[in-house]
Structure formats: structure tokens, C-alpha cells
């Protein structure tokens, strides 16, 4: 009995020691690893996505927001139905009814469905994979239709994509959202690119304890790191003016047979961009279907020779420096073609007006008269004013990808002569608008701005910035008079709005190709502001290679006036002689 008791006691003691040793191992030696394992079993981390900020027009309408988009995937081991049946059922629901690609669109629907069906089947029968992505960018209704098929093994991943209620309005202005190297959403080009940090926000995290069924344990851990939603951006952009501009430009391109066209409308006092459109455009929703060269905004990234629209800059500089007045008479320079070195410069129509005034030089868009003006001003002052008007440097517009063609280092007589009438000098559309806005607003060079407010917890206004004063208000007024006269008496006089004072200038520039000017191809533009003596907007219309006529007076000018008429009506600006 005693021995049996001793054995039993020893057994209990030994067992207790083993248990103690095991407990010591678990609670002391392996404590950290086990604590981690336990926490990972009951702790859950939920990611709270931060909505990307909206882009809002000046009237408070949301132009860009977010919408859910779905990725359809298949987990192959779970598929119950034959792959052929699944692909047959899915293909009609996944087919793009209106493909952007013209070659695809030309094919019959049945053929496109058949191709998609084959593609789906090959994905579903891939022997090397268990999980396959079948289609991205599905809408909510497509998801619901697929769910109604009750196909086991299919699932959806939700993401967010940008939603454009006004269709693809001003794609070049907005840019688009894609992904960075880490797969995080990132804005590219335009506003999305320039204001990516403000728009994207920061995702939040919630750490909490959950039970085996994933339900939260209320007495457990609960740490919350709230998300910071993306900031909203309110623009200067006027939705109605933007719509007018897009519609008119679209029709204008067709009417004048132009290869491309740009329009910028800006408030000359604040630099606020009221509208900006370029054609051909791309659809930011399906940017991946377009060539990457179409993403750049031509208005700020493409350079061109401005032609005669640049004459107002030359004239403004000369008037400011008292080199000429509107009544100054051109000397013998205007009597015929001007020869400088081996070059001979003629007027656009090869007609010459000896003894004409500077006012008439601008009205007739006389190249020889502009050479006289530039040489009266002097080479150094002329180059200085070109720079002071903002050419050769970025305007500072709050859009990604702005380019600023540098001015030449050395200026010969021929360079000054050609630049005086806008040839041999490269500018961007936004630089021209900014320069002419300085004449419209009384002499100040303003910084163009797209965004007027950044809206987060509080609204942060983006204040207008005046870069510098370029000319005096008196010179600005004189130039305005000259530009009004150029519009009403110049070669585009047949297009002008008789009931409004319009200050403007046409420009027809030849296109430089491989070091020489193409005789056939031109860039026709018209720049101006209205109403001339109380300007509400300054606008540039530029058409590339119009085929109905190479001249701006017959293409860009009438289009400018059509758009201006609509804008004046939209802004409720009465004509000079309205009925009482």
C-alpha cells in the first residue's frame, strides 16, 4: 500500500513538474510568439478607404466624383458549372456595348461576344492558376446581373473610379486617375496630377478584437486611426461657358476642316480660367484606350508661332516706351517688302500702304509696319518686353505638364523683325492669353489659376496673384482702342459683334516643319477680350491646319465671335444699344 502510494505521489509530482515546465515554456520562454499568435487570431485590422476629393465648378456643381467599380474574378477550384457554360453566360454581360476603339466598334456585336467568350474560356481553363481576374471596371448593374446568374466560384473586388457627370467634359483640364508603383490611386496630368496630394486623402485603420465569427468583442481592443478624406477643389470654371466652348469648338472644327483646335477663356483680372477645351480629346474614364501623346493639354504644353496676334505685344511695348503712338506714321519701311540680310519680308497680301499710321498697321496687320515699330523701340527693349509679358517662362498655372519654350539667347535683326509679327518665336496658348489679359486689365500680368478654393475642414481660398505691372493703364487703354479698331476695321470685320465693343486681333502663322515653313499648313488664331472697356473675359481661339481657308479672319475669328456672343448672353451682359 505504501509503495503504491509512493508511486502515485511520485507520478503526481512528476506530472505536475511536466505541466509546470510546459507552462513555464509557454508563459515565459515562448510568451511573445504565443501572444502574437493569439492577437492575430482575435485582432482584425479594417482599412477605411479615403474618398478622393471632388472637383467642383464655380456654380457648385460636382464635375468629378467617385463611383464604385468592380473586378470580376474566378476561384477555379470552386467552379461547379462547366467553363464553357460559364463563359457563354458571362460574355454577353461583359461585352462593351460602345467600344471607344473604332476597329472594335466596326465589328458586329455577335463576333465581339464570340471573341470575348473564347478569351474567358481560356482564362477559366488555365491549368497553372487557381485565381484569375476575368474583367475590370464593371459597373453596379453589370455586377448585379452577374450575381443573378448564381455561379459558384465567381467573386468581385470593389474599387473606386472617377465619375464624370458631364460626360468627358474638359478631359485635358482634369487629367485622369490611374495607379502608382504600389498600386495606389494616383492622379496624372491636369488638375488630378497637379493637386494629387490634396485630392487623394489618407486611408484610415480600425484595430479591434473579434470573435470566431468575426463579430466585434466590445470589451476588447478598439483603436481607431480615422481616415482623412481627400480635399475638394472648387474651380473658376464656369460650367455653362465650358459647355458653350466645347460645343462651338466641336462644330467649328467640322465647319473649318481643322485638324485640332483649342479655346481658353480667362478672367483678365483674377486669372481665373473660365473654360478650357482642346480637340481632339480623350475620354478620361478609358484613358488606357488612347495614345499617351493625347494626354498632354495642348493649351499649356504645345508651342506654336503666334503670328499676327503677337503684334499687340510689340505695339504695347512700343507705345509704353513712347517709341510710337497710334498716329505715328510709318516711314519708308512700309513702302514695300523689307530686306534684312538674305531674307525678304512681305505683308500677308503683298500689298503695301506707304504713310500708314500705327493704328492702320494693326488694322491691316501689316508685317512691315511691325518691323518699323520694333526697330523704333529698339532691340534690347523689345526683347525685354517680350520677357516682361511672360514669354520664355512658365505662367505658373496650377496644372501639371506646363511647358515654357525658352527665348533665343542671341537676337539678330532678322529675329527681331520676324518676332515683331509673331514668327520665329514659340509660345503656348496660355502665355498668349496671359499677355493679352495684361492689356485687358490695365497693365498687370496675372498668374492663371484653375482652382479658386481648396475645401477641407475649412475653405482655403486661392488668391489671385499679380506677377508684375507690364504696361501703364494709359498704354493699356490705348492698345484697347487700337484692338477695338483692328476688330471693327480689320480683315475680320465682317465677323464682329456690332452691338459690343470687342478688342481683338487675328493671327495666321505658317507651320514650321523640318526647318522650313509649310506653304499649305497654317495655325489660325484669334485673341481678344470683351466687352472691351469693361472686360469680363479674354479668349483665345486657335485652329490647327484649317482646310476651308488658311486665314484666321475666315476661320478662327468667326468662331471666336460665335463663342463670345454666347458667353455675353450667358453672362447677361447687355449690348451697347439695348432697347429701353
Amino acid at each position: 500500500m505504501t509503495i503504491r502510494l509512493q508511486v502515485f505521489k511520485s507520478f503526481i509530482l512528476l506530472t505536475s513538474l511536466v505541466i509546470l515546465a510546459r507552462l513555464f515554456y509557454w508563459q515565459v520562454i515562448n510568451r511573445d510568439a504565443l501572444t502574437l499568435a493569439a492577437e492575430s487570431q482575435r485582432s482584425t485590422t479594417q482599412l477605411v478607404p479615403a474618398d478622393r476629393g471632388n472637383i467642383i465648378s464655380s456654380d457648385g456643381y460636382t464635375l468629378v466624383t467617385n463611383q464604385p467599380s468592380y473586378l470580376l474574378y474566378a476561384y477555379l477550384p470552386q467552379l461547379e458549372q462547366p467553363q464553357l457554360t460559364i463563359s457563354h453566360q458571362l460574355a454577353p454581360l461583359l461585352i462593351d456595348a460602345n467600344p471607344t476603339d473604332a476597329t472594335e466598334a466596326a465589328k458586329p456585336l455577335s463576333e465581339r461576344i464570340s471573341v470575348l467568350e473564347s478569351a474567358l474560356f481560356s482564362k477559366l481553363t488555365d491549368p497553372d492558376k487557381k485565381w484569375v481576374a476575368l474583367q475590370r471596371h464593371l459597373g453596379k448593374s453589370q455586377k448585379e446581373n452577374i450575381e443573378n446568374l448564381n455561379l459558384l466560384g465567381l467573386g468581385f473586388d470593389q474599387t473606386y473610379v472617377r465619375f464624370y457627370p458631364e460626360a468627358s467634359m474638359s478631359a485635358h483640364l482634369f487629367g485622369f486617375v490611374s495607379h502608382d508603383e504600389q498600386g495606389e490611386p494616383k492622379g496624372y496630368f491636369g488638375i488630378e496630377g497637379r493637386y494629387d496630394l490634396e485630392l487623394r486623402g489618407r486611408p484610415g485603420k480600425i484595430n479591434l478584437d473579434t470573435d470566431a465569427a468575426g463579430r466585434p468583442i466590445l470589451i476588447g481592443l478598439f483603436n481607431i486611426n480615422p481616415e482623412r478624406k481627400g480635399r475638394h477643389l472648387k474651380l473658376h470654371l464656369n460650367r455653362s461657358i465650358q459647355s458653350i466652348v466645347e460645343n462651338r469648338l466641336d462644330k467649328g472644327l467640322e465647319k473649318y476642316g481643322a485638324a485640332a483646335g483649342d479655346v481658353i477663356v480667362m478672367d483678365p483680372f483674377t486669372g481665373g480660367i473660365l473654360a478650357m477645351a482642346s480637340l481632339p480629346k480623350y475620354d478620361p474614364r478609358y484613358f488606357y484606350n488612347y495614345d499617351s501623346s493625347s494626354y498632354k493639354n495642348p493649351v499649356i504644353a504645345d508651342t506654336y508661332e503666334p503670328g499676327s496676334t503677337f503684334k499687340v505685344v510689340t505695339m504695347a511695348a512700343a507705345v509704353e516706351e513712347n517709341a510710337v503712338t497710334p498716329d505715328t506714321i510709318c516711314d519708308s519701311t512700309c513702302d514695300g517688302p523689307v530686306t534684312i540680310g538674305k531674307y525678304t519680308i512681305r505683308t500677308w497680301n503683298d500689298q503695301y500702304q506707304p504713310g500708314e499710321t500705327m493704328q492702320q498697321v494693326l488694322e491691316r496687320s501689316d508685317n512691315t509696319g511691325m518691323i518699323f515699330t520694333a526697330f523704333e523701340l529698339g532691340k534690347e527693349k523689345f526683347v525685354d518686353y517680350i520677357s516682361r509679358f511672360g514669354f520664355g517662362q512658365p505662367t505658373g498655372i496650377d496644372l501639371q505638364e506646363e511647358s515654357a519654350p525658352p527665348l533665343r539667347d542671341k537676337w539678330g535683326d532678322i529675329d527681331v523683325a520676324t518676332a515683331s509679327f509673331g514668327q520665329g518665336i514659340a509660345v503656348t496658348g496660355i502665355q498668349m492669353v496671359r499677355a493679352v489679359a495684361a492689356i485687358a486689365n490695365g497693365g498687370n500680368l496675372v498668374e492663371p489659376r484653375v482652382v479658386s478654393e481648396v475645401i477641407a475642414d475649412q475653405t482655403i481660398p486661392v488668391k489671385p496673384t499679380i506677377t508684375r505691372r507690364v504696361i501703364s493703364s494709359e498704354t493699356a487703354r490705348t492698345l484697347t482702342d487700337m484692338m477695338v479698331s483692328a476688330t471693327s476695321h480689320g480683315e475680320a470685320q465682317w465677323t464682329f459683334l456690332k452691338d459690343y465693343d470687342i478688342a481683338g486681333k487675328t493671327g495666321t502663322a505658317q507651320v514650321a516643319i523640318s526647318g522650313h515653313y509649310d506653304e499649305e499648313k497654317t495655325i489660325a488664331s484669334f485673341i481678344g477680350f470683351a466687352p472691351a472697356y469693361d472686360p469680363k473675359f479674354v479668349m483665345l481661339v486657335k485652329l490647327r491646319e484649317p482646310t476651308s481657308s488658311p486665314w484666321a479672319a475666315e476661320t478662327a475669328a468667326p468662331l471666336w465671335h460665335q463663342i463670345a456672343e454666347d458667353i455675353l448672353f450667358e453672362l447677361n451682359i447687355p449690348p451697347k444699344h439695348s432697347s429701353n
Binding site: 456643381y61 460636382t62 466624383t65 467617385n66 463611383q67 464604385p68 453596379k140 465619375f163 457627370p165 458631364e166 460626360a167 467634359m169 470573435d211 468575426g214 463579430r215 466585434p216 468583442i217 466590445l218 470589451i219 460650367r239 455653362s240 459647355s243 448672353f569 447687355p574 449690348p575 439695348s578 432697347s579 429701353n580
Partner: protein
């Protein structure tokens, strides 16, 4: 007698604590379930709200309204008459 009373009281306290633990645990479990449902509902309503916002944006877009107006036969104004700066209030001109 006192020993029995103490034993009985200890039993009662233990039983009470066990019952309380069961009730509290059960309550927490069901509250967790309710909370999850509420969160799900909140998420669904928030999603619905966003869907409706997008629908309103679509239906009030110039793009949509222009197409709708055209389909109903409206045309842009061809001519306009602007009345401005009346020399005297229009209502009193007669």
C-alpha cells in the same frame, strides 16, 4: 451550523457571479452581432446615398439636360431682345 451557513453563502456568491458572467458575456456577444448589423446597414445606406447623389448629378448635368431638351423639340434661342437701364421704372412708364 455556522460552517454550513458560510458554505451556503459562498455557494450563493459563486452561483451569482457565474450567472452574471454568463449574462454579461451573452449580452456582449449579441451586442457585437447587433453592432455588426448596424455597421453593415450604415455602409449600405451610405452607399445608397452616394448612388443617389450620382444619379442627381447625372440628371442635372448640362449634357443630359441638353439631350433631353433636344429630344423634346426645344431649340436654342435664335434672337434675343435685351432690355436694360430703363430711364424710369417700367411699371410706372404709362
Amino acid at each position: 451550523m455556522i460552517k454550513r451557513l458560510i458554505f451556503f453563502l459562498a455557494f450563493l456568491v459563486t452561483a451569482g457571479l457565474v450567472t452574471a458572467t454568463i449574462i454579461v458575456s451573452s449580452t456582449y456577444t449579441t451586442t457585437g452581432e447587433t453592432l455588426k448589423k448596424l455597421e453593415f446597414q450604415k455602409e449600405r445606406l451610405s452607399q445608397e446615398n452616394k448612388d443617389l447623389e450620382r444619379l442627381i448629378l447625372e440628371k442635372t448635368s448640362l449634357h443630359y439636360l441638353t439631350e433631353l431638351a433636344q429630344s423634346r423639340g426645344y431649340v436654342p434661342p435664335q434672337d434675343s431682345l435685351t432690355i436694360s437701364d430703363p430711364s424710369s421704372p417700367v411699371a410706372l412708364s404709362n
